[in-house]
Symmetry: D3
Amino acid sequence: MIIQTELSTLSRGDLVDHYLMIKKFELRSTKQNKQYLNIELGDKSETLNANVFDNVEEIYNSFRNGEVVKVKGAIDDYQGSRQIRVNSFGAIDTSDNISVHDFLPKSLKDPDEMKEEFLKRIESLSDYHLKNLMKRIFDGERFENFLTAPAGKSWHHGHIHGLIEHTHEIIKICDLMCDIHPSINRDLLICGAMMHDFGKIEELKYDGNFEYTDKGKLIGHIVISAMLINEEAKKIPGFPEELKDCLVHIILSHQGKLEYGSPVVPKTLESIALYQADELSAKVNAYKNALSSQLKPDGKWTNFLNLASTDLFNHGITPEIEEQINKTLFD
Amino acid sequence: MIIQTELSTLSRGDLVDHYLMIKKFELRSTKQNKQYLNIELGDKSETLNANVFDNVEEIYNSFRNGEVVKVKGAIDDYQGSRQIRVNSFGAIDTSDNISVHDFLPKSLKDPDEMKEEFLKRIESLSDYHLKNLMKRIFDGERFENFLTAPAGKSWHHGHIHGLIEHTHEIIKICDLMCDIHPSINRDLLICGAMMHDFGKIEELKYDGNFEYTDKGKLIGHIVISAMLINEEAKKIPGFPEELKDCLVHIILSHQGKLEYGSPVVPKTLESIALYQADELSAKVNAYKNALSSQLKPDGKWTNFLNLASTDLFNHGITPEIEEQINKTLFD
Amino acid sequence: MIIQTELSTLSRGDLVDHYLMIKKFELRSTKQNKQYLNIELGDKSETLNANVFDNVEEIYNSFRNGEVVKVKGAIDDYQGSRQIRVNSFGAIDTSDNISVHDFLPKSLKDPDEMKEEFLKRIESLSDYHLKNLMKRIFDGERFENFLTAPAGKSWHHGHIHGLIEHTHEIIKICDLMCDIHPSINRDLLICGAMMHDFGKIEELKYDGNFEYTDKGKLIGHIVISAMLINEEAKKIPGFPEELKDCLVHIILSHQGKLEYGSPVVPKTLESIALYQADELSAKVNAYKNALSSQLKPDGKWTNFLNLASTDLFNHGITPEIEEQINKTLFD
Amino acid sequence: MIIQTELSTLSRGDLVDHYLMIKKFELRSTKQNKQYLNIELGDKSETLNANVFDNVEEIYNSFRNGEVVKVKGAIDDYQGSRQIRVNSFGAIDTSDNISVHDFLPKSLKDPDEMKEEFLKRIESLSDYHLKNLMKRIFDGERFENFLTAPAGKSWHHGHIHGLIEHTHEIIKICDLMCDIHPSINRDLLICGAMMHDFGKIEELKYDGNFEYTDKGKLIGHIVISAMLINEEAKKIPGFPEELKDCLVHIILSHQGKLEYGSPVVPKTLESIALYQADELSAKVNAYKNALSSQLKPDGKWTNFLNLASTDLFNHGITPEIEEQINKTLFD
Amino acid sequence: MIIQTELSTLSRGDLVDHYLMIKKFELRSTKQNKQYLNIELGDKSETLNANVFDNVEEIYNSFRNGEVVKVKGAIDDYQGSRQIRVNSFGAIDTSDNISVHDFLPKSLKDPDEMKEEFLKRIESLSDYHLKNLMKRIFDGERFENFLTAPAGKSWHHGHIHGLIEHTHEIIKICDLMCDIHPSINRDLLICGAMMHDFGKIEELKYDGNFEYTDKGKLIGHIVISAMLINEEAKKIPGFPEELKDCLVHIILSHQGKLEYGSPVVPKTLESIALYQADELSAKVNAYKNALSSQLKPDGKWTNFLNLASTDLFNHGITPEIEEQINKTLFD
Amino acid sequence: MIIQTELSTLSRGDLVDHYLMIKKFELRSTKQNKQYLNIELGDKSETLNANVFDNVEEIYNSFRNGEVVKVKGAIDDYQGSRQIRVNSFGAIDTSDNISVHDFLPKSLKDPDEMKEEFLKRIESLSDYHLKNLMKRIFDGERFENFLTAPAGKSWHHGHIHGLIEHTHEIIKICDLMCDIHPSINRDLLICGAMMHDFGKIEELKYDGNFEYTDKGKLIGHIVISAMLINEEAKKIPGFPEELKDCLVHIILSHQGKLEYGSPVVPKTLESIALYQADELSAKVNAYKNALSSQLKPDGKWTNFLNLASTDLFNHGITPEIEEQINKTLFD
């Protein structure tokens, strides 16, 4: 892992001598037909704009979007926003020992803790077949990918380790619902929670900028997860058919409605619980995310969010403590 | 409170000498023009059918739907279902000391515990103004009504004490979300949870069969709650305008979408959290309810549910304990 | 195969001594509390009503819906409609050599010809991997089921051999589209057509009345087909990933829209062609079916059809031949 | 009130020495990184564009959007459109005696006449309680605001005095409907019409550019109106509950459908009449407005209007008078 | 026109010797297989039920639904509702001089006055070509049909003369809108109003019970009207093309939205005005109609209305006159 | 017809001395207020961009969008795309003998063959009245327009002769469906296919860039076709009313759903067949079209297509021939 100061800590005039990921890479030209590159460069802390007017053709042919490069230059100011004035672009080599994941937004939660907690949760399953199935699936390279992948491109948990973070939150909500409602089959619901977005490890690319894979767009994470359960359950002797069908059903129905991409709607107690727990986690995280990243300059309202069909209000209300108030009022 | 054996424990031939509530009261006639009464009679445990062919006109003019009456007769069998053969109908008088709530379905949770827990939750609020407001609203007759009312006619929590039971479940879910996401304003969210369905105490009648009131149908519980907050907050000196607007907003938006009857959509972190927590509680309880009350004779599928646009599957899966399986497999 | 006159040829007064399938089996009772059985009995030609007032309990406990029984009685007339007056009900035994499929509606097309034509169509595929995959899937018991199954419960091709009949029609339409548009990959499209409804062999029961299976309702024929392709393609060494993904995509997207139950929408030329060819075949057959089975007494309009959101018009227009007309006009 | 020539009467080369409102105020920069201000400046007659390249930072920090400033410069021509070449920007002081309303679009109707007519309409109400309620609400500062406010941002009646103008039109339509249908309760309907958009005085800001207030976005004019009626009716002794509920219902339901933001749909004769009268007024005014302000250069079609989901046709048909035609044809 | 007492004035025991229209005519049978006729018989004032158990077959074959017959019998009482006990059914002959329209619900407005007013309105048109066109269309048998036809089957104006009554109401509303908005072309709008539902004279049958014709269901009144305007305008020399297109456009778009059956949406000022005026008239009349004919026994709420997606409230509010109140309060 | 090399064959530096059609003609100006023309110029093979900075005003006033002009200049390169550097613009005169259709995209099918085949198809109709009607409609100038017109602006068959090409494809599909289903009335269906988009000859302009006409936007091709059938059928003595109504119905309902602009939904076997055949042809052609013209640089995915609500995948799968594979595997 490389050591370098974070972009977000640099001010106007500071020198840049950083490994940075190319987040956007576009050839443009001015009205007078002069070509230039409109680039975005970032580490995990921030992404800044840069316009390059020299050696345009050479640079454009040497690098590609999503790649990590060695950038030299300085922080400049443009219309009140910081940007990078680039002096040189250099390729990295293997000796630089670069991991692209260091240049992508990351979960604030500790991945090792999340991994350990997840493994414990598998151990605590009561059902022999389900525990066996989970151990097979969350294993080896597949498990590593699960621990690394984001849960989406941007709307919520769109960061490295986002998938396990989101899965964890849903497991907690599901556990609470099982505590309140003993008629829910806890093993089925928790396995459904574990698997519901698992297919995202194949639906998304996260070795550069987050993008959908061809397979992801043609098949989708829901059916990828379902096909995997089908495959692995067939390898376990005596895996009950109804149990498999019910688990596949939870996965297939977890987007809740046909028009959201589920081929069947929830028809069991566990599947409706998972759908609503997923909604609760997804929406709260997405709104929280938008409230910090999409705020307009006045700090009160975000931009209009297409996925929410509204803008959001960032109230400034913090609780008044009763004692303090009482003092003010009566002293 | 009256003491009598529950209807659900009586079998064919058993005598009936019970106070029962009239759940349905319809004048019909046979093809040959003979009039009879098609009645449903119930206590909190069960409701049974009864056809009365004698003294039809007199009985029809003496009683009304939703009333508790003294019924004498016996349990009969009709097409495989138990019904009541009525010998006589009698009016009750005040000395019978009857409470209609004893004849309506009731929450399985202890109402006194729920009340105590609710009061503690108000005490634990940090914000001076919100705590003050909650104390004013959840007080006296209004509070008693809140403790008694159902949360709906039938879809979920359609029983006496259902409103506080449903409110409790949502408070728990909201508390969990606040634990996970410290940027949620806990006081605002919890007060929103407490108040979100409060208007149902005026939207519904529950002194007989559950029905909507005229006010409930003309105005709806959402705006009833909002108007109450507006009224009570005006009586508290210095209640911050923004705080009031944000609390009213949570109430107004808690059905999540305009087409579900919210005049505004959720625009704050607290309002989206409440909407989704409400959905989670409502849907899980409604499906659980349907899975026990709407099952078809084979016990596997329910009737088609209009509100869910599907029938539900009652799988018979119970966890296999690992040790037991292992014994079976390897011993 | 049994030999007996078809129900549809019998008139009032004719004796009935037939093997018939129970299509409906309901315990009812009259206003005066007398129990009776409301039954529908049918062979492949017709289904008639029967009300049984004797030995009700015994008969009800001895038989079940979908079963074939030996019925003795006569054709009666009830309100202008023929019905069966039942004298006795008898169980069948294996020596009767009964096949339930003889009592279900059947395709008018010859199943052996369709089978042969289908096998030829597989042989004519050019792509090595796809041909191999099709040969594996359309084999043994699975193939027999495919040749027997209906394509639905009632809307279109709801009869024995309906699945292959519907598949054939779509293959023809797809072939025509490939002739017109050479840029369509014919092998992919034809294999998509062959497989698109294949999962119906597990989605539906057709060993008595047509019903959905539990698996069919929990998972659906689309994902059943997709999981099967995934399984079988994995067994073929070197099966190209992109080819598999594109074939699975055609299956998944063939209902055309998310709200119709496809988890992805058509994104390739072949998948849009299959969706529209399926629509063309399904709708024309469904309307043709309704125009013959749902006509109201006046013969001009059908009942209102929920799936079409309209009633249909049965015009009486037959072409006038030019020569005939000319004779009339000018001779 | 200030006296100055209207912008719309000035031509290229004319001097500008005007108080103007800043309608848009945006910091931009050219490709070569030179900052400039893109501004729109207007009086009530017209709004013109201006690009300012000098003293950019100073000006940007001294003024804000919606403010009235003293502008010196001249009318310039840019790509066939008139714009303002700004020489200097000056702040106004109180001695300039400026009212921002003089710089906003205004109704063409006389506000004093509309006020007088409105007061007469209140006087003519028959119902004691409703008349009392209207007098309380349309009083003092609240009434002044009602007389000044626009009825919307831009779609229809988006000008000063627009709210009362729109209200007047609806009252006229409602009166006609009452004449035709005596079973409509005229007092209820007219009070509903008066109050239906009243909450817009708090939903919108109109002391500069028209914008939504925070309260407007969190609560909306519908519930603001409803809460006000609730408050004021409580102050009138003996105000009948049903009368209040019916009036609140008209307000809540006047957008006609849940998806348009009404928390209940119209359930009384008066509420359906108000909804449809509002639609008639709103749509005709909006289309009339678009046909004058959104026409494309050819003068025949407007731009595509998102709110109408179509473009509009500006036919050039004027009636031919019969006599004239006859002359032309026969003389 | 025949003279007979109205059904609605007859009480239990009164003799019936009336010409009545058959409103429903259904062959049924009892559980015990006895056939009977379930009939509804009515004049314009009321429709009553009748069950006929004698001569069933003969009567069923001699009469048909929608026919007027001579009925002898008496008023009976069945389950609290009046019905007719039929003694004999007789065919009418031409000497009875019966008009079926005397047995259908009728407008309360005077048809001759409406006719005269309508002709005056045509005379007052200014545009030569439009006036000419209207005179051609509203002429002879077509005009007579227009004066007689209902405007629909039941939702609003479903009575004889309903079409002209509805058209009149819309003309009044349109005239008011033209008074308020001089930029509306009054001639175009009024001609659009006159013609908008004209096609209903071919869409509906009203020589017995109101039913849709085959042509009505295949083509619809909108396109029938449009084709007629096209035909007649072609016969007027020099009829301007744009004028014809704009008038046809108003007709085609007057249902406002594609999903309501208009092939184009309103794109002119006149067409949006007509659509909204039609909505106002249609909805107010439909709700008024439902509030009188669909009230439940308690007189407060109607049945649930599918077309309105709600039930309606019949408040009992009548205005209190100020003076009276004042007396009560202060005297 | 003019002879000149096609634009698509010219490379950077090649001289341009061509007749070209102006496809876009927009006056713009740079930040520094210099005016220029942003133009697109094309022949049937390609359209290229051109920016003109000299004689802007004169050129802008001399030419108009959609016009063919004489352009001199050279092929230039701008940001990797070819464009035209214009030296001079000249008007054409009649001696240049220019047909605008030579500058519009054209069907790849031979128009004369399509015409001949179409006439044969009319001849082969059996029904006297329908054949007569088709001969009247497809005649003279109307037929010429039909042979020339495009079937749309761009989504599918948006090229000269596109209308007959699309009509041909649908006739073939309909013929296949008639072969499979003898109960379809072939004459009715084929005439419906011939006429279904006929109104596009008046709905679209194609004497320059493809645009909608005023009549097209006000009335639409569906009703234009219907009115024409109505007119022409009236001229044929004895044309059966039901036959006319059924043919008009096919035309009116051929967009399948009200929300797609059909004023009635398909209610006959022929109309459902035509709707689905039209969908099949339209969607396959539109997707094929997008897959060749909308591909993104990587060649795998197209841009997002609004009309399909998705992007499309351009797989690279070509069949492997069995023999070749076998060699590789076993040799």
